[in-house]
Amino acid sequence: MSELITTLTVLFGVTSLALAAAKKFNQPVIPTYILAGIIAGLFIEESQILELAQLGIAFLVFVFGLKFDPERLKSVAKESQAATTMQVAVVGVSSYVTAVFLGFTSLDAIYFSIAASLSSSLIGLDLIEREVQLDLIHGRLAESIHLIQDIIALVMATILINQVLTPASILTSLAYASAIVIFALVARKWIYPFVIKQAEGSTEIVMLTGLTLLISYALVAENLGVSIIVGSFAAGLTAAKFPYNSEMIDTLGPVKDFFSIIFFTALGALLNFPTIEVFMTSFVLVVFTNVIKPGVTVVPLLQQGYDSRTSYLTGFSIDQVSEFALIIAIQGYTLGRISNTMFESIILATTASMIISAYTSRNKDLLYEKFSALQVLDSTDRKIEEKRSIEDGIKDHIIVVGYDIQGKNIAENLNEIDQSFVVIENDPERILELQKREENYIYGDVMHDEVWQKARADKAQLIVSTVPLIQISRKILDLETEAEKMLRSENIEEAAELMDQGAYYVSVEDILSSEVITEHVIGVIKDPSYRDELRRKNLLEVRRYIEEEEG
């Protein structure tokens, strides 16, 4: 017992130090754990922690299932169906062929191509959380790609558990897996809400229910010859109904954190000093993941009509190896199906690709500048001719950047007073709206000079930006025009800086909000009836907005 304690102490201690270092350099969490594991592995016996590590897999996938939103999948998946399918197909096949060419068995090659073609929702979504929040188009695309690929990962996990890969065995396990998942969805709708109501108020019973779900599904999965990965997922899926899942995530979250830390560090500990083979294979895998995969993603996106910035930024958000690939690999490892070389290569490559991906994600705008300067796969010019609608000889107009709620509000007001304006947007959906309302618009990337030329920036009297991104604000300030510039910023220091650099006015969310809130708070304190009036008025307005959007 005390051996285990010492082992865990070394493990956690090393990992804490690693995490401190990682935070300094802003590195993501998972590769840090693996690296910590490599170091810790020099001092500890892996066998001690393997059992605990396996609990980590189960909990990881279980919580993933808990957070999974089948409804969201449907709506989000459509965005990138075409692009994702093409990417997985192209990268999948080419990586498989490459692996075979490098001398690996067919089975090993399959593992290789899974690692190459699927990206990570765990890390990937973390990196783009802000973009998804701001509802930026490339955020949505990346999220969509990740979700679809998670499903593909689950399917692959199911297939690979089979001893022999014949069409019959594959179909059987897929059938069973689907049965389990379908059951989970049905239970989620009909049975689970009833059960969880009984547990209401007791966090312990919620936790126990979660554990029972996990164990039960795992047992069924094992008996049907289905991968425990799918079992854990289905278990989580059963409970994936808001608001019930939040309590379970709260209670089992820390448990999952505990065991998954052990899992990732155990992976690191399992690595031996890389041989030349391992090194080479990892390198090739990283090339596939960080260069070829994003590249292959960009092409179909451009074809679909997205502007080049969006396409590239999406590419940079998906250039990592999925943690599912790791889980599938260790499943293969414990079943003795994957060679040690391939196993270690995948771990090494995953670590490297996640680190690189964090870097590309943070610096994607910069990288995009470099790429577009090289004129690689650039097609904006051609698109813009077709994608604009603007009166000839427009002048003294207002240019509005962004057609979100703010932009719409501004447009509405400008229409009321008959003031001419042009909207610059890069989201195809919003362009459709603009077309419907017959407004002047330019469909393109705000960072490109041509867009501003078409918008006649030199003749405008005012440029208003509704996008709080600093690079866009700076771009606008750089424009050669007499027009006044009203920008938007998320923080006060930035706003002051922008005004120093020539912005006429910068609206800072926080300041405007606090003024309004303070006004209302004082009102409520002073006069009890203020509260009801406030609610009534604003509720009506919100309903009005919603109706308008739908109409």
Partner: protein
């Protein structure tokens, strides 16, 4: 080894599933879940169905549970709070140990056990069951009440006493007084060393370390656990137990401002391990031995429980606390701890007693733990029933330490630039203000201000309870997370005015439906303002220049702060 083996190990599966089923039954029949876990072990273990015996994994998880529990207790202990009751608690603990040992000695002796047997039994049955008491009180949210603090204080001191006993028993030499003295001194010195290290780091190292990583929840959790493990290893290497190390680690962490959040993250983990722990108590019981002395055990249990209660009551009352405190404090402490089984086990190994005596001890532990679970669970109700009987104990000199309560207060969830000026306004107009935020960069600044500040994530139950939303007059929540808002809206009272924030219209409408009074929709606020400004710009630019002058100045001014 397949990924399946760990979770599907039949023992583990059976324990979890049985515990879940029994827990549901317990809930339906309004019993505390703890009983369910105790009975899980008994039913599936060697006593009845004999389906499961303890495996290594289970033993590991179980021991980790105890460690984490004491870690949690350590974090809960705010030294400032305890300082006031440290002296009385110390006195109570020492006297209680002496008196209870005496009582525990008399009973078996009177029942006819040998001297050696009596000695061992006495030493074993003195301890209160820390896990049971802490768990139950924590569930009832009573841990921060005065009786609980007294009880926990006494229990901690008892645990230290226990460690000394364990060290003595394990050393195998109970006959040499010099040996005993030496071991005693060694243990006390070790404990002193670890405590010093823990408290020193708490003052100098920990605040800095945690501040830097507090906003990264993974790191936060990890550091907390690492800290615990480091101390556990440290403690083990000095010959002390897992529990002592964990407790002292927690003690150090309990003094930094981030402890609420840390507690919340550790608690579920502890719960998980503890469920296994309680379930496995039953697993180690041997059916035969259990029933050999059952009559004696029942009798002894009864006498012990009443006796313990009276002793504690007398001691607490003696320290001039109110009768209520004395009563409830004593009611909580009437059981025999599962530690008695641990100590008993060692005694058997060393040959001091035989298995049947261990069975006797087990029976006592089982009976007293089950009964006292109900006593603790219903301690308030029982007190109310017999309140009038205690009038004779009342006295002007007796009073309790005051615990402040929140009412008609304002609660602000989330703290950023938007909220800062509003908080000043609210602080001026409200007597009590609680600010909850989980951004560590603000902690120092905020803990210095005049209002109560809690560092933590509002999604966590303990933090929500601490903010007493149902009694609040005004709630301002600028966290646009729908989960947080929904929880918040379900916690508030009918009189509470709520300001919430949403990122889109559908969410806003939903929040209004759930009871929000005003929903901040950022984009609309600034959109409207901006549109307004544009209109003025078009009419007469100079007018706009004037209009926004103040705002621009404010931006410049605040940017330099």
């Amino acid at each position: 080894m397949t990924p399946e083996s760990a979770i599907l190990s039949p023992s583990f599966a059976i324990i979890i599933v049985s515990a879940t089923v029994l827990a549901f039954i317990a809930k339906k029949t309004k019993q505390p879940p703890l009983i369910a876990y105790l009975f899980t072990g008994i039913i599936i273990g060697p006593v009845f169905l004999n389906l499961v015996s303890e495996t290594e994994l289970i033993a590991i998880l179980s021991e980790l549970g105890l460690g984490f529990l004491l870690f949690l207790i350590g974090i809960e202990m705010k030294l400032d709070d305890i300082r006031e009751i440290l002296k009385p608690v110390g006195r109570i603990a020492i006297l209680q140990t002496v008196l209870q040992t005496a009582l525990a000695f008399v009973i078996p002796y009177a029942l006819g056990f040998t001297f050696m047997e009596t000695l061992v039994i006495a030493l074993c049955t003195v301890f209160g069951a820390t896990p049971v008491i802490v768990k139950l009180l924590s569930e009832k949210d009573e841990l921060s009440t005065l009786p609980s603090k007294i009880d926990v204080g006494v229990l901690i001191l008892q645990d230290i006493y226990l460690i000394i006993i364990l060290a003595l028993f394990s050393s195998g030499n109970l006959t040499n007084p010099g040996q005993i003295g030496f071991t005693l001194a060694k243990v006390l010195v070790m404990i002193g060393v670890i405590t010093t290290v823990s408290l020193a780091s708490s003052k100098y190292i920990l605040p800095k370390v945690f501040k830097r990583i507090a906003d990264n929840e993974h790191a936060f959790f990890l550091y907390g656990i690492s800290w615990a493990f480091i101390f556990i290893t440290f403690s083990q290497s000095l010959g002390l137990s897992v529990e002592v190390g964990a407790f002292l680690a927690g003690l150090g962490l309990g003094q930094i401002p981030y402890n609420t959040e840390l507690k919340e993250r550790i608690r579920p983990l502890t719960d998980f391990f503890m469920i296994i722990f309680f379930s496995t108590i039953g697993l180690s019981l041997n059916a035969q031995n259990l029933l050999v002395y059952w009559q004696e055990a029942l009798l002894a249990s009864g006498v012990l429980m009443v006796g313990n209660f009276l002793i504690m009551f007398y001691l607490i009352d003696r320290e001039k606390f109110t009768p209520e405190t004395s009563f409830i404090g004593s009611l909580n402490m009437t059981q025999v701890s599962e530690f008695s089984l641990v100590v008993g086990g060692i005694a058997v190994t060393q040959g001091y007693i035989k298995g049947d005596i261990l069975g006797y001890l087990s029976m006592m532990a089982l009976v007293t733990m089950s009964l006292s679970t109900y006593l603790i669970n219903y301690n308030q109700e029982i007190y109310r029933k017999i309140e009038h009987l205690l009038e004779r104990f009342e006295d002007e000199d007796k009073q309790d330490v005051e615990i402040e309560s929140l009412e008609d207060h304002a609660v602000v969830i989330g703290y950023d630039e938007t909220v800062r000026p509003v908080v000043e306004v609210i602080n001026d107009r409200f007597d009590q203000l609680v600010v909850i935020d989980n951004d560590s960069s603000q902690t120092e600044e905020l803990s210095r201000k005049g209002f109560e500040y809690i560092y933590g994530d509002f999604r966590h139950g303990e933090i929500r309870k601490a903010s007493k939303l149902d009694k609040a007059k005004l709630v301002l929540c600028i966290v646009p997370d729908m989960n947080v808002n929904k929880r918040m809206l379900s916690d508030i009272g009918p009189e509470t005015t709520v300001f919430a924030k949403a990122t889109n219209f559908e969410d806003a409408a939903e929040l209004y439906d759930l009871g929000a009074d005003y929903v901040i929709l950022e984009n609309t606020i600034s959109g409207e303002k901006t549109a307004e400004y544009i209109k003025i710009f078009l009419e007469d630019k100079e007018v706009l220049d004037e209009e926004i002058k103040d705002e621009k100045e404010r931006i410049y001014w605040r940017s330099r702060e």
